[in-house]
Amino acid sequence: MALATNQTERTAATTESVVVRYVLTGFALVFLTLFLFVPLVSVFWEALAKGWDLYLAALTDPEAVNAIKLTLITALIAVPLNLVFGVAAAWAIARFEFRGKALLTTLIDLPFSISPVVAGLIYVLLFGAQGWLGPWLAEHDIKIIFAIPGIVLATVFVTFPFVARELIPLMQAQGADEEQAALVLGASGWQTFWRVTLPNIKWGLLYGVILCNARAMGEFGAVSVVSGHIRGQTNTVPLHVEILYNEYNFIGAFACASLLAGLALVTLALKTFVEWRATQQHKGDAVPLEARARLASAH
């Protein structure tokens, strides 16, 4: 709701002169064009280099379809797991003071700094036939690596920090006053969480989920180590892309890559839609007032 009010209520006193606005917007757009837009265009360019027919053929190839299915399933399992974790972690870190907080935050960040290849390797060390749990798993005929559980585990690992790290700064900036007020007024913990906290953090949460999802679908390195690359079974879309590329099938590789970009765009379109719906619902809502009261008391 903050989004909607910010723009409508911004007055001459709280924005910059036209020149500054144009210059800043210009800089931002040039940067995005050079670093984001053009590389993306080049992906679609390569994918369509030999026409639509080949592009569509690459996407409807049974192996590609299987890869797409597996990628969606993986994201569908991995993202909710990290979502629950992210909210719990952000609640503990942003709402309470305790010793070792910086350490805990750092540990949450760690998966990002680990090379994806190593991320895959650690699961091989744990669950591989030569690994610690390998013999036990083989005895009980449980497959973790070179099967879907391994792919999901690796994906959860590489996307681990997203939701938590998105929420922590947001919740810290918002402060706990509203929740405290709700509790004082007699709401239960869960009620406070569902009615006060969640509505306040929902945009941050959504961003976190979208990022997490995008990364979950696009992850290559870690999944590559634990997947086994069995065609039609344990190949995700990024792995399929690599194989196509290595087989001198440039069109197919870039077609599948553009599909991943497309999937990300779909999630973003959904986000925009949800946002739009929310602003429609909240027109004339009392929440912005509440938010103002919150800030007034905070400062």
Binding site: A102, S113, P116, A173
Partner: protein, 278 residues
């Protein structure tokens, strides 16, 4: 929970929140990492040190962390700018631009690497104009920075954006009434409020960049001692079936990253307390 010496708060759910956090952290992150560290310890101290102190490894570590730092700084600067423009100004196609920001995550890193190389190679869309100026991007350390900037960009934008959105206009109005100009307001009101988020974004971009492999490998040139990143050395070890050597280098990377992240998170926590933002 006395262990954590929690300060008194009326809010419930500390035990649940922290408990679940620790449980999941241990399961997904700490246990596997422990396996990694223990595996590398099989080398013994001497072997470990010999593996990680060669010129090649040290040169690659310098390159990996140096390039990541530069990329994260570029991202902090431009990411903040992008977030600012997206939140505060309106221009045609804004929704579309907003949507684009996340794409570096969705694109498999290898594809990003290939696309960037296509652009920056001497005969590429950008490269053909840079080459006559004597600027070589692809197959040099600069190419590595370009790739790392690309993959880390969404972090800063997406952490700063929600915080900027939540800043209320009233504060700025009040500051204006008190006679502050826009720059002062930015410096004293807006920037301090977004600083924790900016630092978070910077940290994440940095962390992500240090371990990145897929996109860099295509644009780097991979010449030993010049443009060879550390993850490539790990792959090299694995190709020789040298698990131990690979885990040893991985552990060194892990430790450097850990210290670096801890430092930044420490600063952030401290700054947050000082500004009373917590």
């Amino acid at each position: 929970m006395n262990l954590f010496n929690k300060k008194h708060s009326v809010l419930p759910g500390f035990g649940l929140g922290l408990g679940y956090t620790l449980f999941w952290l241990c399961l997904i992150v700490l246990l596997p990492l422990l396996a990694l560290v223990l595996k590398s310890s099989e080398l013994g101290w001497q072997g470990f040190w010999e593996t990680v102190s060669t010129d090649r490894v040290i040169a690659s570590l310098k390159l990996s962390f140096g390039a990541s730092l530069v990329a994260a700084l570029i991202n902090a600067l431009f990411g903040f700018l992008v977030a600012w423009v997206l939140v505060r100004y309106s221009f045609p196609g804004k929704r579309f631009v907003d949507a684009l920001v996340d794409l570096p995550f969705a694109l498999p890193t290898a594809v990003a690497g290939i696309a960037l190389t296509t652009l920056y190679a001497p005969n590429g869309w950008f490269g053909q104009y840079l080459e006559p100026l004597g600027i070589k991007v692809a197959f040099t350390p600069i190419g590595i920075m370009v790739a790392l900037t690309f993959i880390g960009l969404p972090f800063v934008v997406r952490t700063v954006q929600p915080v900027l959105q939540d800043l209320e206009a009233e504060l700025e109005e009040a500051a204006t009434c008190l006679g502050a100009n826009r720059w002062q307001i930015f410096q004293r009101v807006i920037f301090p409020a977004t600083l924790p988020a900016l630092l978070t974004g910077f940290t994440l971009a940095l962390a992500r960049a240090t371990g990145e492999f897929g996109s860099v490998i295509f644009i780097a040139g991979n010449i030993p001692m010049v443009s060879e990143i550390t993850p490539l050395l790990i792959i090299g070890k694995l190709e020789q079936y040298d698990y131990l050597g690979a885990t040893a280098i991985a552990v060194v990377m892990l430790m450097i990253s850990f210290v670096m992240l801890l430092l930044i998170n420490g600063i952030q926590w401290w700054a947050g307390r000082r500004h009373g933002i917590r």
